[in-house]
């Protein structure tokens, strides 16, 4: 196996058939700010090495210098694609340290926004996977529908992608504006229509490119640290929302889709069904939404976080998200460790799945994991 890159290899007069290094990313249109170095022999990948760090911003260190309300805004940026879910994990960590009682209406709003964020994230995943498979229609349809959700985010939080710490310690920054409930109900009808459209494509395009590709066995999934849809596609019904409920998830009745196959198709079927499950959750929460009015929460100066430590886990669209927060009684946390699902999915799981795959299957495997470099690099 040659150590030279493909170009060097060919410059020496060799034909590029007996093994060379191939970079997938970080400038590949579909890779995100992340690369993986593949060693290829013929059409087969014989070794893969992830190359993270392009989005490393040192959030854990930055948070040690900022107050919880400032950190709530930072927590948006932990994952561009599902900022509201990360808002919630951070807010819960501070709430538990402070022993804060969250008003029931605020808890309901948190769940609604987190589930909408999950739907929105799954839509992006669907679009990008379609794009990676060369199915441009799916990409355009998905991103078209995503804008309906972003319109609602803008209406409620003021931001389309980054909600500026809308789900903040103590509850939510401000109550739903008038007419939000009706808008969400209408949005859910649109989302149901979208799921049907996705299903119609699934049986053909997705199945043709994803069936039997990137198979992950359950014991490997556990050993490599897979969580969320990737783990559930291997046959384990593990979901933090049900196993260790937070907010009001213990009152809600919802499906946790699982599959046994562990391949890219199973992962995509699970995510599509999860959109349906999120729609049922939001409907149930809308029915329970108390009619009180919440006062807006404004950042206060010099509020200290009581001494203590917590480890808070949430189920976000990509898997298990967690925050370990240690406070020494100052206004800033002493240590804030952020555990995102993608550190595990993008390094051990991805490297494991790529070895032995065909080069043409690399994008399908890569995007079937729904990876996001932002919460890996932090």
């Amino acid at each position: 196996m040659s150590k030279a890159t493909g170009t060097e290899h060919m410059a020496k007069g060799h034909r590029a058939v007996d093994g060379y290094d191939l970079y997938f990313g970080p400038v590949h249109p579909g890779s995100g700010n992340f690369g993986v170095k593949l060693t290829v022999e013929g059409e087969r990948v014989v070794a893969a090495r992830s190359d993270p760090g392009y989005l490393h911003r040192g959030f854990e260190k930055l948070m040690e210098y900022r107050t919880p309300m400032q950190n709530a805004v930072l927590s948006d940026r932990l994952c561009i694609l599902e900022s509201l879910n990360w808002n919630l994990v951070h807010a819960e960590a501070v709430d538990r340290l402070c022993g804060a009682e969250i008003p029931r209406r605020a808890k309901c709003i948190r769940v609604i926004m987190a589930e909408l964020s999950r739907i929105q994230s799954h839509i992006i995943w669907y679009g990008v996977l379609s794009k990676a498979l060369g199915f441009d229609t799916g990409f355009k349809v998905a991103f078209g529908y995503r804008d309906y959700v972003l319109d609602l985010f803008e209406f409620v939080t003021g931001g389309r992608v980054y909600p500026a710490g809308y789900l903040c310690p103590g509850g939510v920054r401000r109550d739903f504006p008038d007419g939000t409930k009706k808008r969400i109900e209408d949005l859910l009808v649109t989302m149901e229509k979208m799921v049907l459209e996705f299903e119609a494509y699934d049986s053909r395009t997705m199945a043709a490119r994803c069936h039997g590709v990137g198979v992950l066995a359950l014991d490997d999934a556990l050993r490599l640290g897979a969580t969320g849809p990737v783990l559930r596609a291997c046959g384990l019904a593990a979901d933090v929302r049900r196993d260790a409920p937070y907010e009001i998830y213990d009152e809600l009745d919802f499906d946790i889709p699982i599959r046994e196959e562990g391949d890219a198709l199973a992962r995509s079927i699970i995510r599509r069904r999860e959109i349906g499950a999120s729609i049922t959750i939001i409907r149930q929460v809308l029915d329970r939404l108390p009619a009180e009015t919440l006062p807006p929460i404004k950042p206060k100066v010099a509020v200290k976080i009581p001494e203590g430590e917590v480890y808070v886990r949430n189920e976000i669209a990509r898997g298990e998200a967690a925050v370990y927060m240690r406070s020494t009684g100052e206004a800033q946390p002493y240590r804030c460790k952020i555990r995102g699902p993608d550190l595990l999915h993008m390094i051990p799981v991805l490297e494991h799945l790529l070895v032995g795959a065909e080069v043409a299957d690399v994008p399908a495997i890569y995007w079937s994991l729904n990876i996001c470099p932002a919460d890996m690099d932090r």
């Binding site: 993270p52 490599l224 640290g225 049900r242 196993d243 213990d250 808070v312 886990r313 051990p348």
Partner: protein, 172 residues
């Protein structure tokens, strides 16, 4: 974050681990379990937990306590069967920051956390074959997440020019 139906299992686990390792586990208000252990007993304790259902190593973290001259390692473990979250804490010397790797227990999922902590805190994990740099490129400075690394001073000196009026606020 109490798991469902986990009261009984948690009580049993508390008793067994407490007796066996002479530690005093406690249960926090949110239902999570916390155990502090001496560093010498850590490998044995973690192996015991691994073989008693804690199949998921959710995260490994380090907290820097420069005034005590110590690093605190925290292992956050989850049991898919009993739905219990346990955090095991142990302190190691800050000067000779070395701990035994838990790759043999949790495989690559623990290995990647150790690789990250090696880069950001300079803690060495014996038995981990891959502690190559992860996020930082060509970094030769001290491990940047240590409390005594002044990143503001570093950024100012590396990226801003003293005497440049437009960048003066970084030097005031």
């Amino acid at each position: 974050m109490a798991g469902v139906n986990s009261e009984q299992q948690r009580a049993e686990l508390l008793e067994v681990t407490g007796l066996r390792f002479a530690v005093e586990p406690h249960v926090a208000a949110d239902g999570t379990m916390w155990i502090s252990a001496e560093h010498e007993r850590l490998p044995e304790l973690l192996a015991f937990l691994r073989h008693n259902g804690f199949a998921h190593c959710s995260a490994i973290s380090v907290t820097d306590w420069p005034e005590d001259g110590e690093f605190e390692l925290t292992y956050h473990l989850w049991s898919y069967e009993d739905k219990i979250l346990v955090t095991v804490k142990s302190r190691i010397d800050r000067e000779e920051a070395t701990a035994a790797s838990v790759i043999s227990l949790w495989g690559p999922s623990a290995g990647i956390h150790e690789r990250e902590l090696h880069e950001l805190f300079g803690v060495s994990f014996e038995g981990n074959p891959d502690l190559a740099p992860l996020f930082l490129e060509d970094w030769e400075g001290p491990p940047p997440f240590r409390k005594d690394f002044d990143w503001r001073a570093y950024v100012r000196e590396a990226f801003y020019e003293e005497g440049n009026s437009r960048e003066q606020s970084y030097w005031d």
